[in-house]
């Protein structure tokens, strides 16, 4: 289906068109929202369509796999795109209030849409190197967003962020190269098919080569010990956009780990990488939450929580090493990724709203949020408890699935860590709550209207609760999606079924050319 490209293409077009008009106030905002809502609608339509008709494939340029670049909308990709677009819409609506004229003139919305296109791109692509490109598109958008306004702090942190991600990009290219050398293809479907048949020393070599990609994706996902970039950079991202960052960037990395290390690399002994991830995930969960515990700024606390929560996703990926629980673990991971997209964005957005309502962002100076902005307080409570995994919410469902998968598989230590982390998560969310929403309101803080910020966040809160309540449809879909990942035969078959659409242009062309150096083109 050719339209699979739309979630990438429309944001890109939007970005370019908006760049050309350069910050045309309301018109720009209207165009943004219209385009994002359209793509969101399309994404949900695609999700339903794929659920009914199986994976949809578009090969760019009408070429054929494995050399044409494939775009595959399987269940996993669809749900990722749909959720990311919802978060995107919410964030866009949120930024209508927070964005400044200067930011708008310096390409706020174009860069935002480039980032959004990159995110969707990363979800949809079926080619390893194209994934690199997608990541770079997403990253460049994020660089632009991060530095927009160019305050002192932004410049410093963006510099670090770019530098660290440049290492990641380099290693990504190296990883692609090593995979190409050892497997001979970059197409994910073909990689999956080929690696499944690899055994012995060749398989071992592929496993070693994938370690480079493991570093890359673990870094993108902000897993221990590679999360350096995250806690420093997120607090300086403009309000609103930090919701998108929080929801998307690390999740794309986690998605990459899931897609590559579970679905694509299936050679004999491929569990090695997953086991490494499992070990990393334990540290990530625990150290991330410890980092959060001692922060005194809402954004910093939430940023560290992102790290900690990434641990759960990486754990889910790592658990997939155990064949008995692979599908359950993958379903849990997908759910957890979605949950985090929603809840982390929501928390950042609500944090921003609370900052506005209370008038400061330093936790120690806050207070009285429950009286100043009861709506925000209520939403924050929902999101915070969802983050900590309390029912009934997507967070509980996600944690439950992970714990179930882990205990079924006998991975007691990691589940213990997960549970301890969950406790500390609650501890630190309660800290925010008791400092920002309880206590007496600060005097002399500049309070600004916050309702326009709370409303978009409420959509996300509703989603996390809805996922907890309507868990069965979610589970049915997720189980099917997970099956598509652990057993990619449907994916592979869909990719290779797509025919070569390009005609032979000139069958004789090859025989008419001069032997040496041609004077002109054919």
């Amino acid at each position: 289906m050719n339209l699979v490209i739309l979630p990438i293409l429309i944001p890109l077009f939007t970005a370019a068109a908006l760049a050309l008009v350069r910050g045309c106030g309301r018109v720009e905002k209207a165009v943004c929202l219209a385009s994002d809502l359209f793509v969101t609608g399309f994404a949900f339509w695609l999700l339903v369509y794929v659920d009914q008709h199986g994976p949809q494939v578009m090969i760019a340029g009408g070429w054929a796999a494995p050399f044409g670049i494939t775009y595959v909308a399987d269940r996993l990709a669809c749900v990722m795109v749909a959720v990311s677009m919802v978060v995107g819409c919410v964030v866009v609506a949120y930024t209508f209030t927070t964005v400044t004229k200067a930011q708008q003139r310096h390409f706020f919305y174009p860069l935002f849409h480039i980032m959004m296109a990159g995110v969707n791109w990363a979800f949809l692509t079926g080619d390893l190197f194209n994934l690199y490109v997608a990541f770079e598109v997403l990253l460049i958008g994020s660089y632009g967003m991060m530095v927009i306004g160019a305050s002192k702090a932004q410049v410093r942190e963006t510099m670090k962020y770019v530098a660290i991600n440049s290492i990641g990009a380099t290693l990504f290219v190296v990883g692609c190269a090593l995979i190409y050398a050892t497997v001979g293809t970059l197409n994910m479907a073909e990689l999956s098919a080929r690696t499944a048949e690899l055994t012995g020393d060749r398989a071992k070599m592929v496993t070693v080569a994938t370690c480079v990609l493991l570093v890359v994706f673990a870094m993108k996902a902000a897993a221990f010990p590679l999360f350096f970039w995250l806690p420093d950079s997120y607090p300086i991202v403009p309000p609103g956009v930090n919701g998108f960052f929080a929801g998307m960037l690390t999740k794309v990395g986690a998605y990459g780990l899931l897609r590559l290390f579970v679905m694509v690399f299936r050679q004999e002994g491929s569990e090695f990488a997953l086991n490494v991830l499992l070990v990393m995930s334990g540290f990530t969960m625990l150290l991330g939450v410890l980092g959060a515990m001692c922060q005194w700024d809402i954004r910093r606390i939430l940023s560290w929580h992102i790290v900690s929560q990434v641990g759960y996703m990486v754990m889910g990926v790592g658990l997939a090493a155990n064949g008995d629980i692979a599908q359950a673990a993958v379903a849990a991971t997908i759910l957890y990724i979605i949950h985090q997209m929603i809840v982390k964005s929501c928390l950042f957005l609500l944090g921003g709203a609370a900052e506005r309502a209370i008038g400061t962002q330093r936790l120690k100076g806050m207070g009285g949020g429950i009286d100043l902005a009861p709506g925000v307080a209520g939403l924050f409570l929902i999101a915070a408890f969802s983050l900590a995994g309390l029912p009934p919410s997507s967070g509980f469902l996600g944690k439950f699935l992970l714990v179930r998968a882990g205990l079924t598989g006998g991975h007691y230590v990691i589940i213990l860590i997960a549970i301890v982390t969950s406790f500390f998560t609650l501890y630190s969310m309660l800290k925010i709550w008791s400092y920002a929403f309880w206590r007496d309101p600060p005097e002399e803080a500049p309070r600004r209207p916050y309702r326009a910020l709370a409303a978009p966040s409420a959509v996300l809160c509703a989603m996390t609760v809805a996922m907890g309540v309507w868990a069965q449809p979610c589970m049915r879909y997720l189980n099917a999606a997970a099956k598509g990942v652990t057993d990619p035969s449907g994916y592979i078959e869909a990719v290779f079924r797509a025919p070569l659409l390009r005609p032979v242009l000139d069958p004789h062309a090859a025989h008419e050319t001069p032997a040496l150096v041609p004077e002109e083109s054919p």
């Binding site: 490109v133 002192k152 410093r156 607090p235 500049p446």
Partner: protein
């Protein structure tokens, strides 16, 4: 050709690392440039090499000519362009960092507490 290439790649990454660990923003930028070159050469090397093959131009009507794999150059080209663009951005960011912070030593940069800056930026934003 793999052995000399591997040595060069190793050297590029080692030197790039060494530069990035030095306390100077420009050296970090230079180190990343070396990394980029290293990655590109890795891709090239991984495409395989036979000295008898010729460039991937399809002028040989007989189809007998043994041509190089066109994929590594394509990938390198994309990678070069992307990393060059990002590198340019990083370069300019370093310049802005020096301009704003008055130091090009990342260590000194790190020692300045962010919350001091945050308060300042909060003041300017509102």
């Amino acid at each position: 050709m793999e052995l000399p290439m591997a040595i060069v790649i190793g050297a590029l990454f080692a030197a790039g690392t060494y530069l990035m660990l030095r306390p100077s923003l420009i050296r970090i930028v230079l180190g990343l440039a070396l990394y980029t070159n290293g990655a590109n050469l890795t891709m090239m090397t991984c495409g395989g090499y036979e000295s008898s093959r010729s460039a991937p131009f399809l002028y040989d009507a007989s189809g007998q000519a043994r041509l190089m794999d066109p994929l590594p150059p394509v990938i390198i080209l994309t990678a070069i362009v992307i990393s060059f663009s990002v590198w340019a951005l990083l370069l300019i960011l370093c310049y802005r960092v020096y301009l704003d912070w008055g130091t090009d030593d990342p260590e000194a940069l790190a020692s300045i507490e962010l919350h001091e800056v945050e308060e300042e930026s909060a003041a300017t934003q509102s």
